[in-house]
């Protein structure tokens, strides 16, 4: 099994979330709605984050190339893969793990600066989402596209399961969301529709 590759390093952090800088993006990670982790408490625990934003910043050179008539393929590749343009991921804290046990509440400490951020492997995603107690933490996050975020997260959690178990997981997840959004049927309807998307 190849060694796991970090998807970034923590640059800013708080109890409620952390941001990380990354150099390159891979085709499948990091992804909106993906679960990730970063070491905290001097390595005694891992904070679990839910990626809600991936932000690529620009600069004068990037803008110049964007406006050019037809920049050579090598120049585009330089900007995309070589030049260290800051790519920032932002994650909402949805839990932590200690001794391999997942807790779905805010952690005692945030991750430390420059802690490496790893995506949760499918078995960890499956284990973390066996309970859905983290949903209120997501729904309570202010000014985030929480409905789309939840739908993306739950769809990825379904994919971490055997094909035969995916549909039942999504039905259970939809029921859990229904309990939390019972007072807002329009949002619930949208979220359930999103959950049904491939």
């Amino acid at each position: 099994m190849p060694p796991r590759q970090p998807i970034g390093r923590v640059t800013r952090c708080s109890i409620q979330g952390f941001d990380g800088g990354i150099r390159l993006m891979h085709p499948d990670r990091p992804a909106f709605g993906g679960l990730c982790k970063a070491a905290a408490q001097q390595g005694a625990s891992d904070v679990i984050g839910l990626i809600y934003d991936i932000n690529i910043q620009d600069d004068e050179l990037a803008r110049q190339l964007a406006a050019a008539e037809s920049p050579a393929a090598e120049l585009r590749a330089d900007q995309q893969f070589v030049r260290p343009i800051p790519i920032e991921i932002r994650a909402l804290t949805v839990g932590f793990s200690v001794d391999g046990r997942f807790e779905q509440r805010l952690p005692p400490q945030p991750p430390i600066t420059l802690a490496e951020i790893y995506p949760l492997e499918p078995d960890e995603v499956l284990q973390f989402t066996e309970r859905l107690d983290f949903l209120p933490l997501v729904l309570a996050a202010p000014q985030l596209p929480v409905d789309h975020l939840l739908a993306a997260c739950l769809r990825q959690a379904a994919l971490a399961r055997p094909e035969s178990a995916r549909r039942m997981f999504l039905i259970d997840a939809g029921r859990a969301c229904a309990r939390l959004l019972a007072g807002d049927l329009a949002r619930l309807n949208q979220l359930v529709t999103d959950l049904g998307q491939p």
């Binding site: 050179l61 050019a68 050579a72 090598e74 120049l75 590749a77 330089d78 893969f81 070589v82």
Partner: protein, 414 residues
């Protein structure tokens, strides 16, 4: 607005009324000189515009003069003359951009330096070379590289005469390191067409300043530089130095010389230029169409003779890119090989297409430059290493007081 009114305007800031001097630079004192500067620039621009048609006529006239006759005049102009010697190309010739090869390995290198600071915790200087290898036509991402070197030993910091290494020597070491980096990475072309670009002219400036009595260090650096040029040549990679906004007047000096009657040519008469401030660039802006290059010529200087003795004589031509006229310097082994010369011409035009100056040089500069945060991080690294070795890292009191005042709040005018 009168100076006193401006001064009141600068000082008035309701949030910081207790700060008597909001800015270090007293701009009101400069209002009149700045106005004088602008008036002078406008007057000079008018004079140069008037001088240009005559310069263009001189260019065509000189192109008709026998090359041998021009060389006789150049010899009579003396060793101090800094003009251009014509090559096999007519002086007023223009050359359209050749087709770009389907694939071209383009290498760019640039350097920066951190000077030794006696007020810092340790006495050292740093040279950082940045570069890019872009394989045009491959579609592959380019390869970036940096080569930082730190100099701290006695032989690095002291000259043979026992003096401290000065800033010009550090810059020369940087220039040599740039050429050495190009020679090293050019091997990646592996026999395919290649172009190595330097963000500077090819003549080693410091060595040219000391050509009468160069210091031993300068002589050694010059030898290393020429060896690196030869190493690029050995890789069969074209070499060129790119100079943005050149202020040279080698060609104009030749045009003026060509108009002096043979019997009146002397070092004194040869020194006169058509118009003060007029540059080859201004002439070539009129003369060249976009993408065209001028005729090649040899910049005349004693140091170029030294380069010639080593088989690395430097030639130059002007090139009109989409944005401006640049000066491109090449060794004679590039200039006299039509295929390699075409590679330089087409390669530089393509490199300038998006960024105005060669893309590999834009990126090389970005990779080489040591910004203040880099410098701070290096200082911290040095301090931590000194501590590990049982030394107490101490900066001087002067350095400390500079830090105190560096953080003073400054206001934006307006």
């Amino acid at each position: 607005m009168t100076p006193s009114a401006v001064r009141r305007f600068l000082i008035y800031n309701p949030e910081h009324t207790f700060e008597p001097f909001p800015m270090s630079l007293d701009l009101p004192q400069l209002l009149q000189p700045v106005d004088d500067l602008s008036a002078f620039a406008a007057k000079r621009a008018g004079e140069l515009a008037q001088a240009l048609p005559a310069a263009q006529r001189s260019l065509h006239n000189a192109a008709g003069v026998d090359r041998q006759a021009l060389n006789v005049k150049i010899a009579a102009a003396g060793a101090g003359w800094r003009g251009a010697r014509p090559t096999d190309e007519p002086l007023d010739a223009t050359f359209p951009p050749p087709a770009h090869p389907p694939e071209l390995h383009v290498f760019g290198a640039d350097g920066s330096q951190v000077y030794a600071d006696r007020h810092a915790a340790a006495y050292y200087y740093l040279v950082n070379i940045g570069g890019l290898h872009l394989h045009h036509g491959s579609g592959e991402p380019p390869r970036a590289f940096t080569r930082p070197s730190i100099y701290f030993r006695d032989e690095d910091l002291l000259t043979a005469s026992g003096g401290a290494v000065d800033e010009t020597l550090v810059k020369t070491r940087r220039d040599v390191a740039e050429m050495q980096a190009l020679a090293e990475v050019a091997a990646a072309a592996a026999g395919s067409p290649g172009l190595a670009l330097l963000d500077n002219g090819l003549i080693l400036w410091q060595a040219s300043q000391e050509h009468h009595a160069p210091r031993p260090e300068v002589r050694e650096l010059l030898r290393a530089y020429l060896r690196a040029m030869a190493a690029v040549q050995a890789q069969a990679v074209a070499l060129a130095g790119f100079i943005n906004r050149p202020r040279n007047a080698n060609l104009l000096a030749l045009l003026a010389l060509a108009e002096i009657p043979d019997e009146q040519v002397s070092p004194e008469s040869a020194r006169r230029l058509p118009a003060p401030g007029l540059t080859d660039r201004a002439l070539m802006r009129q003369h060249l169409a976009e993408g065209q290059r001028s005729a090649r010529f040899v910049p005349v200087s004693p140091l170029n003779t030294v380069f010639a003795d080593e088989g690395q004589e430097v030639q130059a031509f002007y090139l009109k890119t989409a944005d401006d006229v640049a000066r491109v310097e090449i060794p004679t082994w590039v200039g006299e090989d039509p295929k390699t010369l075409a590679q330089v011409h087409a390669g530089v035009i393509e490199q300038c297409r998006v960024t105005g100056i060669p893309y590999v040089l834009v990126r090389a500069h970005e990779l080489a430059v040591v910004r203040p945060p880099d410098r701070q991080a290096l200082d911290q690294l040095v301090a931590a290493a000194l501590t590990r070795h049982g030394l107490l890292p101490e900066i001087s009191q002067k350095s400390r007081t500079k830090r105190w005042t560096a953080s003073r709040r400054r206001h934006v005018v307006g």
